[in-house]
């Protein structure tokens, strides 16, 4: 029971003195609410980097210090420091922006971001390649467009996701507003961001005023919240720390099923770390949303592991304390038990592309953006194309959870102009294979410091080879989810894909198969640390069997699950399932 704190192991949580917790906790505490020495580091001309401690604090300001890893070795020999750059991530609840904001994002990407905008798997924008001296200008530019980067990274509530529903139902509008409300409510309140990035004066205030919810040490780890509108599970609600599944009645939105404890990240050779799907623990009426969010997050804030960072995510707190105990703690903080979960039904976690008419009689067009990378490349002047569209468009532009774009709210009479621009800039799409349209790659090399192998840059090639196998089996039209991550942390949500690769070393990946098509089941690792030829030979054998033995309408992931169940029915589940 939640009340039995005396029997509870609290040796790793916020109740402990700081010197018994991890260095990150001490850093947060001593940073004066995320100020650290960031401001002085920005004007240090001897290095393009900032102090190591400040790089951790800056995550909560929405940016990562990175370097061009393609040049790292070359520059080391040249006695030059790494080519430091900053990745800046925008806070964009639900992935919605206006054309005016798009034009600002576009101009900042051209001025400071190496001419590209990256759509992320959490529905926002990333600028890569920003130099230290341009970080402030970038953030001030965003500010002009009423955008910011607060809490886009770090130990706080991250960008709040929301279903991108291309039908634009009234239900969706209400859920999107709720997502923004939650995002705003649980934003860090420190003035450090305004002081450092906007140059505003420091205002004296007490600690409690600075962070009434988070406190000086914020959360033990990142916290991901997402809203989904069935039957689409585009946000992969089971991968969120806290997911809200919208439940509608005859008069629209009534409330949410609450799912807790999802998370993708794992650490190689650390069996105590693992991907985990969220558990649906009950239902709340919609007017309890902010309170429920606070109840869940505060349980993680107060009981989460602050000693071992790789065990600090909410999913481990749940498994360590027990789901029942956690649920009771949440209910205690809510002051009432959760209602039983209501029925719901998902069909897919992918996007549906092309034009859709909305309930209000306007039109939305979902565009396929491979790997979420908007840049100008031969035959694909996508950055230019979206700029031209933003100049004439009068609705919204949305980022989907699958790193694609929706040009939303187009009036019937404006559609021809938009269509012409899409065609002119190679954005109309429609020729890609179904697997390509259902693919996600994280950024990985050369910018991400965690990457062990290629992801975004490798996706086009590996997919071409898989497409050849699919074509030979007559499966090119079959939607299959394919996701690739450069490391085991899983930003592309690989562990719920039907086919997934996670990087181990240059050219080496773990191969996962059998995730649920709508994100309801984890994939199994079938090969560990193998190269492309082994990956392709496994897929060739699997897809051959799939073409021959699949049941009518059976998804690849379900097929994999069925044959591996048959193969290992009498065996203890192994870490690696050698189904092929």
């Amino acid at each position: 029971m939640a009340g039995d704190d005396a029997l509870l192991d609290r040796s790793r949580d916020i109740s402990q003195p700081l010197d018994r917790l991890s260095a990150d906790e001490r850093l947060k505490k001593s940073s004066d609410y995320l100020r650290g020495t960031i401001a002085t580091g920005l004007i240090d001309r001897i290095t393009g980097a900032v102090a190591t401690d400040d790089t951790r604090l800056m995550k909560i300001h929405g940016m990562y210090q990175q370097d061009d890893r393609d040049l790292r070795d070359e520059r080391r020999r040249q006695k030059l420091e790494p080519a430091y750059r900053f990745m800046i991530r925008v806070r964009l609840p639900g992935g919605v922006c206006t054309p005016e904001q798009w034009l600002k994002l576009d101009s900042l990407a051209r001025a400071h971001g190496g001419g590209s905008l990256r759509l992320t798997s959490r529905q926002t924008f990333q600028f890569h390649w920003v130099l230290k001296e341009d970080v402030r200008a970038t953030i001030q530019g965003l500010h002009e467009a009423l955008l910011d980067t607060v809490a886009a990274c770090g130990d706080v509530s991250r960008n709040v996701m929301c279903a991108s529903d291309p039908q634009d139902s009234a239900l969706h509008a209400e859920v999107a507003a709720a997502a923004r409300q939650v995002s705003d409510h649980y934003m860090p309140r420190t003035r450090a961001y305004h002081e450092i990035w906007y140059g505003e004066e420091k205002v004296a205030s007490s600690g409690a005023e600075q962070e009434p919810f988070y406190g000086a040490t914020y959360l033990p780890r990142k916290f991901k919240i997402g809203f989904v509108v069935p039957p689409s599970n585009d946000i992969d609600v089971y991968t969120q720390d806290l997911g809200f599944i919208a439940i509608a009645g005859p008069d629209g939105l009534e409330g949410y099923n609450v799912a807790i404890g999802g998370g993708m990240g794992r650490t190689d050779n650390e069996p105590t770390t693992y991907p985990r799907l969220a558990d649906v623990i009950g239902y709340i009426p919609k007017d309890r949303l902010v309170a429920a969010t606070g109840a869940v997050m505060s349980v993680q804030r107060d009981y989460g592991n602050r000693l071992e960072r790789n065990r600090a995510r909410f999913k481990y707190t749940i498994d360590d304390k027990g789901l029942g105990w956690i649920k009771a703690a949440i209910e205690a903080r809510l002051g009432a038990p959760l209602e039983p979960a209501r029925p719901f039904h998902f069909t897919s976690n992918g996007d549906s592309f092309g034009w859709r008419e909305t309930q209000s009689g306007r039109f939305n067009c979902t565009l396929f953006v491979e790997s979420g990378r908007l840049a100008n490349r031969p035959g694909r002047a996508w950055l230019d194309g979206m700029r031209e569209i933003a100049r004439v468009h009068r609705g919204q532009i949305r980022v989907t959870p699958n790193q694609n774009l929706i040009v939303a709210g187009v009036a019937a009479e404006d559609r021809p102009a938009i269509e012409a621009l899409l065609a002119e800039h190679g954005l109309a799409g429609g020729l890609e294979s179904a697997i390509r349209r259902n693919s996600i790659a994280c950024v990985a090399l050369p910018t991400c410091g965690l990457a062990m192998a290629e992801a975004e840059r490798y996706l086009p090639d590996i997919l071409a080879r898989i497409e050849a196998i699919l074509a030979a089996q007559g499966l090119l039209g079959e939607p299959i989810t394919f996701r690739i991550s450069g490391c085991p942390n899983g930003c592309s949500r690989p562990y719920v894909a039907e086919i997934a690769l996670t990087g181990r070393a240059p050219g080496k990946y773990n191969l996962y198969l059998g995730g649920g098509f709508h994100g309801e089941r984890l994939a199994r690792m079938v090969r560990e640390n193998v190269g492309e030829s082994e990956v392709l030979s496994v897929l060739e054998a699997l897809l051959g069997r799939y073409a021959a033995e699949r049941l009518p309408g059976e998804r690849l992931g379900d097929f994999v699950e069925r044959i591996s169940y048959l193969a290992s029915a009498s065996q203890v589940p192994a870490r690696i399932t050698p189904i092929i």
Binding site: I46, Q78, K79, L80, E81, A83
Partner: protein
């Protein structure tokens, strides 16, 4: 260098020479220094016992006139020549005192009897920086009449500058005007000064010896006027193995700056931080080919260079400057071709535009534009200057990098007449300097650029490859555990690509060996920011460091950076010290005089 030069026949008899040779082969450098001190002390003692004809002094010391060798320069060439002259003088039983103009008390002039002046010219005919005081006094109204003085001037310069050897010419004129008697005519030396300087020295020595009534009247052959200083020198360079040759500017740099590491193990070469290394580079065979083509000459044509038979191709590759045109080639080619435009340029009428025109026309360009048939090899090369070694400040310290010498080199490349052109050593190293190959080198000491005592603070100002000696300084200080503060100002074009040795400075900053560092990048977004701007931003601290006794160093570009830095320094002293301009200049001059402001500019 032959044994004859080391032991002139009239100094030691054969038996004595054998003893000395045997001894010199077995002693360590320290023992050698002790022995030399022993004999010097013995000689001094013998001299005091006047008249006692000891074994070391077969003749009674003469009540001779005093002889002073006064030198002024910025690179150490003049000091080196002065030392060699004094050594040669000793062989003729003449005692010469060597004094640097930077430390010479000008009022001593009226007491001088025989004075030899060796002085170089810089910039627009200016005296060397450390000699400015001396010039101001001698050329000013306070200078005394010098009727008793006999003098000779050896002027060093570079004929590709307009005011060639001007500083020497000025002193030569002024001393005459003050009533002094010219002992020997002035000699003007171009960058290939060895022969001219040796000739002048031999002549001056012969005159001095004759007039002192010393010994025989045998003339001193020019090539033996200077004894060899080290085993390896300019004429006998050491083939150092190239162990690293790497472009150390990042991609997208507008430069091609290289870091080169040379293995000098077994060479006997030794250097101090601040010294330079001379690279005896060869011309690019392709450039030689092009020149031969233009002149209609065969590379196989035979000719004699410095008494040795060789082929024209080899001579052009290894013995002559064939890119930048010296004025003497203009005269030569004007005379040979009789071409009117060349004659006009060579004459009085073309004086104002001559140097600019020469800079824009390499030898090959002139030969192409004013071709001449029926030329022979000897005639062709008669107008060319000998190929000079290229000097680079050494970027390492022997204490930290035993048996190695590091060089920081920015290859010179540009377009001229639609063709790519490049500097000699630059191209040699960039294009033909593969790791594993060798490079002929020697050490050029630079007494004008020396670290102070370990506990003294240093302020180092450098742009581009001018940062090289500071790497040597810090390596040395690190190896010695020197505790003095250090402050580095560095300027280049772009932060991300051109921050030379960035990670090394960062490490030294982190461990405190380098106390402070300020950088200026002129082609980054802010643009047009140079080291002097950073100095100005730090005026108060910089002045405080100077007040507390810091030594200041400037290394790099002589035309752009060094004068700006100098002016800025004066401005900072004026502002921070509350001085007028004149007093601030005095302050800075005092720094130079006390060797607390040293420059190595090129």
């Amino acid at each position: 260098m032959t044994a004859r030069a080391l032991f002139p026949a009239d100094t030691l008899n054969l038996d004595q020479r054998r003893h000395v040779e045997a001894l010199s082969g077995s002693v360590t450098p320290e023992q050698a220094r002790w022995i030399s001190g022993y004999f010097a002390g013995l000689e001094a003692g013998i001299a005091r016992l006047a008249g006692d004809g000891g074994a070391l002094s077969p003749e009674a010391p003469r009540a001779a006139r005093t002889l002073t060798v006064l030198h002024g320069g910025e690179t150490g060439n003049c000091a080196g020549l002065a030392r060699m002259f004094a050594a040669a003088a000793r062989e003729r039983d003449l005692t010469a005192e060597i004094v640097d103009m930077a430390r010479y008390k000008p009022r001593r002039l009226r007491e001088e009897q025989d004075l030899l002046v060796i002085v170089s010219t810089h910039g627009e005919g200016d005296p060397p920086q450390p000699a400015l005081d001396f010039f101001e006094y001698v050329e000013g109204p306070k200078a005394p009449k010098l009727p008793e003085l006999r003098y000779a001037v050896l002027a060093l310069g570079d004929s590709s500058y307009e005011h060639y050897c001007e500083a020497g010419k000025r002193l030569d004129r002024r001393l005459e005007a003050l009533g002094a008697g010219r002992l020997a005519p002035r000699a003007d030396c171009d960058v290939d000064f060895d022969e001219t300087a040796a000739q002048w020295s031999a002549e001056a020595l012969a005159l001095l010896a004759a007039q002192a009534g010393a010994g025989s009247e045998v003339s001193v052959p020019a090539d033996s006027a200077f004894p060899a200083a080290t085993a390896h020198d300019k004429r006998n360079p050491f083939d150092a193995r190239i162990i690293e040759n790497l472009v150390i500017v990042g991609r997208d740099s507008t430069k091609e700056t290289r870091h080169i590491e040379l293995d000098i193990a077994g060479s006997g070469l030794a250097y101090d931080p601040g010294d330079a290394i001379g690279i005896v580079a060869r011309n690019d065979p392709a450039v030689v080919e092009a020149l031969l083509d233009a002149a209609g000459l065969s590379g196989d044509a035979g000719l004699t260079v410095k008494g040795e038979a060789t082929s024209l191709a080899d001579a052009l590759e290894g013995h002559f400057e064939i890119a930048l045109t010296p004025p003497r080639f203009l005269d030569h080619w004007a005379a040979l071709t009789g071409a009117a435009p060349l004659r006009r340029l060579a004459g009085e009428e073309g004086k104002s535009e001559r140097l600019a025109w020469l800079r824009a026309h390499h030898v090959v360009d002139i030969v192409r534009r004013f071709p001449l048939g029926g030329l022979d090899a000897e005639t062709f090369v008669a107008g060319l200057r000998p190929l000079q070694p290229r000097l680079y400040s050494i970027a390492s310290s022997l204490s930290a990098m035993p048996d190695e010498a590091h060089v920081t080199l920015a290859p010179v490349r540009y377009q001229l007449h639609g063709e790519p052109r490049h500097g000699v050593a630059s191209a040699h190293l960039a294009d033909r300097g593969a790791v594993g190959g060798t490079l002929p080198v020697y050490i050029q000491p630079n007494e004008q650029f020396r670290l102070p005592e370990d506990d003294k603070a240093i302020v180092m100002i450098g742009a581009g490859t001018g940062i090289a000696p500071y790497r040597a300084f810090l390596q040395e200080r690190e190896a010695r555990g020197a505790g003095g503060g250090s402050w580095l100002f560095f300027g280049e074009r772009n932060f991300r690509s051109d921050f030379l040795y960035q990670t090394e400075w960062q490490a030294w900053l982190k461990d405190g060996l380098l106390s402070r560092m300020d950088v200026a990048f002129s082609r980054d977004r802010d643009g047009r920011t140079y080291v002097q701007h950073r100095m100005l931003e730090r005026s108060a601290d910089l002045y405080a460091w100077l007040e507390e006794g810091a030594h200041l160093y400037v290394c790099g570009d002589a035309v752009g950076m060094a004068p700006d830095v100098h002016d800025t320094l004066v401005a900072i002293v004026a502002e921070q010290g509350g001085y007028g301009r004149e007093r601030a200049e005095d302050y800075v001059r005092d720094l130079q005089r006390s060797r607390r402001y040293q420059r190595d500019v090129y």
